[in-house]
C-alpha cells in the first residue's frame, strides 16, 4: 500500500514539474542576436534566424536569458514566441496558445510565395527600392555613439 502511494506521489510530482519546466521559444524575426547581457548594444554571442528554437533559462525584465545550441545569452522578448509545454497539452486539449498559433502560422498566409505572385501581377510596384532600403544597415557602434554624443539614453 505504502509503495503504491509513493509511486502515485512520484508520478503526480513528475507531471506537475513537467508543466513548470521545459520552456522553449521560437525566434519570430528574420534575424536577431543573442547578446552577452540583457540590453541592446551588448556584444553579440550568436545570430539566430526565424524559426530557431531556444531554451529559456530565465527572464530579466523585457529580456529572456536563453540557450541556443550551447550558447547562453539574452534576447529581447519581442523577438521570440514562448512555447510552453503544459498539462493541457498532455491531456489532449486542442487549444493552442498565441505562441502555438504564431508558430503554426509560420510560412502560411501571406508569405514569399504570395508576394512573388503579387509582384508578377503588379510589375509597376517598386520592390527593388524596398529591398534596397531594407538592406541598408546602420552599424550598431555608430548608433551607440550617436546616442551618447546627443546626450540621449541608451536603451
Amino acid at each position: 500500500m505504502k509503495t503504491r502511494l509513493l509511486s502515485i506521489i512520484s508520478l503526480l510530482i513528475a507531471v506537475s514539474s513537467v508543466s513548470l519546466g521545459a520552456e522553449t521559444a521560437t525566434v519570430i524575426t528574420k534575424e536577431n542576436a543573442i547578446r552577452e547581457s540583457c540590453r541592446f548594444f551588448s556584444p553579440v554571442r550568436a545570430t539566430v534566424h526565424y524559426g530557431d528554437a531556444l531554451e529559456i533559462v530565465s527572464q530579466e525584465g523585457d529580456w529572456f536569458r536563453v540557450d541556443f545550441r550551447g550558447v547562453q545569452g539574452c534576447i529581447h522578448k519581442s523577438a521570440i514566441e514562448k512555447k510552453s509545454f503544459s498539462l493541457s497539452n498532455l491531456v489532449g486539449s486542442n487549444k493552442q496558445s498565441t505562441s502555438g498559433q504564431e508558430v503554426a502560422l509560420a510560412g502560411k498566409g501571406f508569405n514569399p510565395q504570395v508576394e512573388s505572385a503579387y509582384r508578377s501581377q503588379n510589375p509597376q510596384l517598386n520592390f527593388r527600392e524596398v529591398n534596397a532600403l531594407e538592406n541598408y544597415r546602420v552599424p550598431e557602434s555608430k548608433l551607440r555613439e550617436f546616442i551618447k554624443i546627443g546626450g540621449l539614453n541608451l536603451p
Binding site: 500500500m1 505504502k2 502511494l5 509513493l6 506521489i9 503526480l12 510530482i13 507531471v15 506537475s16 508543466s19 513548470l20 519570430i28 524575426t29 528574420k30 526565424y50 529581447h76 519581442s78 523577438a79 510552453s84 503544459s86 498539462l87 493541457s88 487549444k95 496558445s97 498565441t98 505562441s99 498559433q101 504564431e102 502560422l105 509560420a106 502560411k108 498566409g109 501571406f110 508569405n111 514569399p112 510565395q113 504570395v114 508576394e115 505572385a117 503579387y118 501581377q121 503588379n122 509597376q124 510596384l125 520592390f127 527600392e129 524596398v130 532600403l133 531594407e134 541598408y136 546602420v138 555608430k142 548608433l143 546616442i147 554624443i149 546627443g150 546626450g151 540621449l152 539614453n153 536603451p155
Partner: protein
Amino acid sequence: MNRTLFLGLILVSFALGCSQVNMGSIGQMAQETFSAARPLSDEEEYYVGRAVAARILSTYPLLENRRLTEYVNFVGKTVALHSDRPVTYGGYHFAILNSNEINAFSCPGGTIFITKGMIHAVRNEDELAAVLTHEVAHINHRDGVSAIQKARLTQVATLIGSQAAQRYTPAQLSQLVGVFEGSVDDVFKTIVVNGYGRSQEYHADESALSFLWRAGYNPSALKDFLERLLSQGQSSGGGIMKTHPATADRIERIKREMPSVNVDAFAFQIRARRFQEALR
C-alpha cells in the same frame, strides 16, 4: 498516521498540479483574447508592409541623400529602441521621400517614410524625433494592419486553415494573392489617402510622448512642431494635415499628457547643431 500523511501529500500534489493547469488555462484565455485582436502574424504583417512600401515608392521617389538618410535612421532607430516594440520581424527602416509635401507614413512591420518637406518643416532633431516617434507608435499599435477588412482575414484563415504544406496550389495561391492585394489596398488607402481614426492618432501622440521621454528627447518638441504648423496656417490642406485630426485638438491632448522633464540645454544644442549639419 502514515497513511493520513501520504493521503495528505497526494491531495497537496493534486492541488498544486490542478492550480498549474488552471493558471495555464487563464493565461491561455488571455493570450487567445490578445490573438483575436491580432489576426496576422508578425511575418505576414511584414509582407503586407513591404507591398505597401512598394506602392508608396511607386508614387513618391526616394531622396538620394546618403548622409541625411543615415541621420534620419539614427534618430528613428534611437526612438524605436525605446518604444514598446523595439524589435519587429524585419526591423525598423527609415527613408526620405523626395516630395515637398509635409508628410510621413508608417508601413506595417517597420518601414517609415518621411518627406523632404517634413524634414524642412521641423526645426531641430527633437522635432524630427517627435514626428518619427509618432510613426513608430503606429507600428507599435499595429494600426496599419488594423485597417484590413475583417472579411479578408477570415478568408485567409479559411484558406490556410487545413493547409499543412507551406506551398500553395495554383488555385489557393490565386485566391490568397487576391486577398493580399485587397489587404494592401486597405492599408495604403488608410495611411496615404484617408488617414487613421482619431483615436489611433491620439493614441500614437500619447505613446510618442512616452517614447521620446524614455529616449531622452524633449517630448515638448511634438507640441512645438504642431503649434508652429497651426500658427503658420499649414494645419489644413494637403499632406499630413489631410490625414490627421484637427491640429488644435491634438495639441490640447498632448498638453494634458505631457510628462514633466528637465531638458538638458547643452545636449539639446548639440542635437540641434547636428540636425543643421545633416541638412547641409
